[in-house]
Symmetry: C2
Subunit: 149 residues, 2 copies
DNA sequence: AAAACTGTAACAAAATTATTTACAATATAA
DNA sequence: TTATATTGTAAATAATTTTGTTACAGTTTT
């Protein structure tokens, strides 16, 4: 279900850019009220390439947020009610590496601090991310989408 | 005091890798109990280049966490008590772009959603980051450092 | 005066992220 | 049934960001 932790070729890795793209897509789909929306159209609002949108749609589909229909007049709609999609769940769908963590963190094992720091950092990052997700979970896609006219 | 929001040349930009490096440095300095520690030595424990350490030390110094002494037998020490340095403050010293934000987020202004999404995203990011910093602030450098033998 | 450092800058390399292109597969509509 | 619009996916390329390296002037101690 989840993408592998390290995937360099055709999938993204970071938490950053993808969250806003995913959320933007989902708001647009919510506003479309069930009508099929093409990746071309979504890309036009976000001002990125349709292929980027389609890549993110793969993930959103795998996470059960959206469903797509192929072929002419095809497109994508929400797969569940916007009130049943929490922002925390969206975050988790794009998240792949720990929030504050390091890519190549290979401290010196001969140093008492270096030897243990990764374990302690992991604990800290996990606790922190848990709080972050809880905070995001206070809001659903419906809540966020309602901010737009 | 703070680095500019966009700085591509000789300064870093992201939140990720720097936090662990900064924290690692500060733990090592705390363990040194006031003795001057060279960037070479710090780099040895973290297993990165001394110049990288020195770059991060510039920032830590500007934020008042450490002080350095130049010249032979020089080095760096903590500039305040470890119990007076919160992890949230360390995070803020390395943070430069918003937590979940996008680099180039230039949505289509002709779309009602695209036109307003950045404002709403900013609000969301700020609220979320506030919670994250509050969580990190529950722990001081002294607390974190105490986890190491 | 030599040696061991810091402080910086400039440059180079690696990794990540974004864009583009292409095209097979699928479904609709003329 | 053929043309068309659209997804699904891969591959290649470009842009950007991040990390690492080298170099050396300036400081302080010995």
């Amino acid at each position: 279900m989840f993408l592998p932790l390290y995937c360099n070729k055709n999938n993204y890795r970071m938490n950053n850019g993808r969250f806003s793209i995913a959320l933007h897509i989902l708001v647009l789909l919510d506003k479309a009220q069930g009508e099929l929306v093409s990746s071309e159209w979504l890309a036009g609002s976000i001002n990125i390439n349709p292929a980027m949108v389609r890549k993110e749609l793969i993930s959103l589909r795998q996470h059960g947020f959206v469903q797509s229909k192929e072929g002419k007049n095809g497109g994508t709609t929400l797969a569940k009610k916007a009130s049943d999609i929490s922002l925390g769940a969206i975050y988790e769908s794009v998240r792949q590496l720990s929030l504050l963590g390091h890519q190549k963190n290979t401290p010196n094992p001969r140093c008492p601090v270096g030897k243990n720091i990764n374990a302690h950092l992991d604990g800290l990052y996990n606790d922190t991310e848990r709080v972050l997700i809880d905070q995001l979970n206070k809001q659903s896609l419906a809540d966020f989408s309602a901010k737009f006219v």
